[in-house]
Point group: C2
Chain length 132, copies 2
C-alpha cells in the first residue's frame, strides 16, 4: 500500500484532485481547480506535481503535458511506465502488464547503456472511438 498520510497539504490537495478526476489533468487546469483552496501560483502546482511524480503517486504523460494518478495499487513502477492513449477522445490509461514491464526493464542493446527507467506511450483508437 501507498502511504498517503505523509503528503504535504498542497501535495494532498493536488493529488486528490487528479485522482478523483480519473484521467489526465494539465497543470493550469489543476491550478484553476485548486485556487479556491488557496493555491494561487503555477509554481505551487508544479512543485507538488514534481514531488508526486518523484514518489510515484502520479505520472506525467509526456506527449500530452498532462498528469495522471498512478493506477497500480502497488505503485512500485514509477520508473517503468506504459500508457495507452486514444488519439480521438484523449482517454488515457496505464498499462499494467507484467510481461511487458519485464521485457522492457530487462531490455539492453549494444550501446553499453544500462537503462534505469523507461516511459512508453501507445497510441490508437479506443473501443468506443473505433466503433464510430
Amino acid at each position: 500500500m501507498q502511504k498517503e498520510y505523509n503528503l504535504s497539504k498542497n501535495q494532498k490537495i493536488i493529488f486528490d484532485l487528479i485522482d478523483k478526476s480519473g484521467g489526465p489533468m494539465k497543470a493550469y487546469s489543476i491550478l484553476f481547480n485548486v485556487q479556491k483552496k488557496g493555491i494561487k501560483a503555477p509554481l505551487q502546482v508544479y512543485r507538488a506535481l514534481d514531488k508526486l511524480v518523484e514518489i510515484g503517486k502520479i505520472h506525467k504523460i509526456e506527449s500530452r503535458n498532462a498528469f495522471i494518478a498512478c493506477q497500480n495499487s502497488s505503485c512500485q513502477i514509477s520508473k517503468a511506465t506504459a500508457f495507452s492513449i486514444c488519439e480521438n477522445c484523449e482517454n488515457v490509461s496505464e498499462i499494467s502488464n507484467s510481461k511487458l514491464s519485464k521485457y522492457l526493464s530487462n531490455f539492453s542493446d549494444n550501446s553499453g547503456m544500462k537503462y534505469s527507467k523507461y516511459n512508453l506511450e501507445f497510441f490508437g483508437l479506443c473501443k468506443k472511438c473505433k466503433s464510430k
Copy 2:
C-alpha cells in the same frame, strides 16, 4: 530510400540543421540558428517541424521537447520510435532493434484497443557518464 528533394524550402533548411547537429534540437534554438536564412518566426519553425515529423524525417523527443533527425536510413518506423536518453549529458540516440519493434508493434492487451503507434523513451547513463 527517403525522398529529400520534395521538401519545401523551409523544411529543407530546418531538416538540414537538425540533421547536421547530430543530436536533438529545440524549436527556439532552431529558430535562432535559421534566422540568418530568413526564417523569422516560431510558427515557421513549428510548421516545418510538424511536417517533418509527419513524414518521418525527424522525431520528437517528448520528454525533452526536442527534435532529432531520424537515424534509420530506411525510416519506415516513424510510428514506432524508441530512444535512449542519457540523463546526465542529454545525449539521445534512436534505438533500432527489430526484436523490440516487433514486440511492441504486435503488443496488445485486453483493453480492446488496437495500437497504431508508439513511442518509447529509455533513460539512464551513457557509457561516458557512467564511468565518471
